[in-house]
Amino acid sequence: MNIEWYVVLSSLLFAIGATGILIRRSPIVILLCLELMLNAGNLALVAFSRMVGNQEGQVFALIVMVVAACEVVVGLGLIVAIFRRKLPLDVDELRELRG
């Protein structure tokens, strides 16, 4: 199976994730979409690692998983904090800062 297929697939996933961030307003879903994008990156990494035949890419992918986890944790923490402040869980409602 050609590596091309994997990479193209990953780019498609990346695009989908990006689109999700652009159209979804719930911060949780946006976090999910970020996960999608990072995973797309991972897929690409692994695919390339296979292509060039060294495992650095895989290690990179693992590290990315950790990073992704961290972002999720922080993100969810923020969401909880916002929820605590009785603020709407909608990124479009949070636009006091502008101009």
Binding site: A18, I21, L22, R25, L94, R95, E96, G99
Partner: protein, 669 residues
Amino acid sequence: MSATSWTWLVLLFPLAGSILISLGFRSIPARVAGVIGTGAIALAFACAVAALVNLLGQEPDARHHASSLWDYASAAGLDIKLGIYVDQLSAFMMLVVTGVSTLIHLYSFGYMRSDEGYHRFFSYLNFFVFSMLLLVLAGNFVLLTVGWAFVGFASYALISFWYRRTTATEAGMKAFVINVVGDIGLVLAAFLIFREIGSFDYGTVFAKAPEVFQSGEWTVTAICLLLLVGAFAKSAQIPFHTWLPDAMEGPTPVSSLIHAATMVTAGVYLIARTHVLFYLAPTAADIAAFGGLATLLVAGTIALAQTDLKRVIAYSTMSQIGYMIMGVSIGAYSAGLFHLMTHAFFKALLFMAAGSIISAMANRQDIDRMSGFWKAMRFTSLMLLVGGLALAAFPLTSGFFSKDSILAYAEARGGMYAWMAIGGYVGALLTALYTFRLIFRVLPGRPCEEAQHLIDSGELYHGPPINPATEEEEDTDVGFPGAHHHIAEQSWPMAVAMALLGFGALFAGLIQVPGVDNVLFGFLEPAFLDSPLAEIHPSVGAEWRGLAIGAAISLIGIFAAWVLWVSRPQLPALFRERLRPVYLLCLNKWYFDEAIDFLVVRPALAIGRFANSTFERIVVDGLITGTEDTVGGAGRLVRVVQSGFVRSYALLLLAGFAGLALYFLIVSS
């Protein structure tokens, strides 16, 4: 001491006097100031005489010297020294200037006595004389310009001496600006001369001119025309004459000094001084001559219609200067200068007499109100008469000889110059007419109110201080009009000055009677030998023929004036009816003021107002506001895009990336 050292002294005294008076205006008492002022000029006159004597001691053709104190501004090849040039011409001029000025100072000593600005007046007066002397003594064109401009400024200061009088300040401004125009002409001429000859120094220039230029070459013509601008502006020749009549706003001594005896003659002097160039530029010379002719005729006609005592005399000045200009332009150098001298005498005298009368009229100057002063003020009237006779070239008076020597020369040179002579005679007729119009209006007849008051009480009539020009209340705290007026009968300095001038006016002509004696010409001629025109001499016979014609004309003119204004007083009114347009033309001074106002002043001011209101706002500020708006608009755009929606931020981010990626894809293929 050499002639030049004497001459430096001549320059020094008036300047010193002026500075001394102005510095001590608080401490020095008024009379002392007057004494200092008069004394300074008297001393200058003495030194002038000394210089003359010194000159006479030398060979006629060695009678020119240059001397300079220090490098005034010499760099990059320009040679501008603080130097003077003494020869017969400048010696003659400084004699006339200092001599007449001394008498005028003396007159002012009495006349201005009660004026608050006594100090100011005398320091100005001295400064004026200094400037005039600088003008005639300067040794290069730059210094000439300096003197030229100083004279202009001094006349400004004196014209607007009573500076609370708006008419006076306006007149002063007018005089100054027109004079500046003249200066510019002079400066440009200097540039051109330097460009061609590479020097500003009289000696160098006049020596080199003949070999540098061929006769009639455009450059030299241009130079002469530019010089003429200067000359005409100072000498109040058409079309630069309009300032002179207005200049009568100044105190009467000023009028007599500046606008008769000295300042206005500067143009004559300039042409005489640069006769070398003018000889090389015949066209320019002729233009000058015609200008003089035109002026003398036009001024004569205007003088006929005016009713302001001083203005009439002022216009007569213009026309007399016209004679001189014509004279020196066509080559009658000595004759022109001769007339300059005699004119200085009788014109100063006329103004002094007029001043005396005006005092008696409590500053009214309208001749229609005047009459019968013969009974009221015998001496003044006498002097007025003497001056009038000389002006009208009554036989054997000074004016008689000087004027006719010009016309005789013109006739002798022949060609179109002969026609000019005829024009000159016509002018003479006019002169006689308006002069005696004046005299017959003022002297004979039943004394007017003011004159009567003087006869009865022996005291001067005191009217309310009114500005005759605008009929508005005078602001008296600048002095004008003094608490008391002064007339020759009551103040000896005035009387003395007038008497001396009267003597000059009557008999000065006798130093130069054709075929009898040749004092003046003999002295002046050597200065002009480098111009072949100086060779032309009318024969004695021709001169006497001319004199005869002149005598006849002046007698006719006087008689006509008697008929018109004494025996048949209704006639003038009749003429006014019949020749209304002509009358209006003369009354309104041929509409020169209006023309200049329309052609120069208004456009300039209009442009200024346009620039100030429209251009400045739209273009200049437009540049700024335009930029401001563009930048501000961009800022507004940025802030609008900064909508606060995090998702639109993401969109822009990705868009940015898309663009970048697109670029790279294009590059890579």
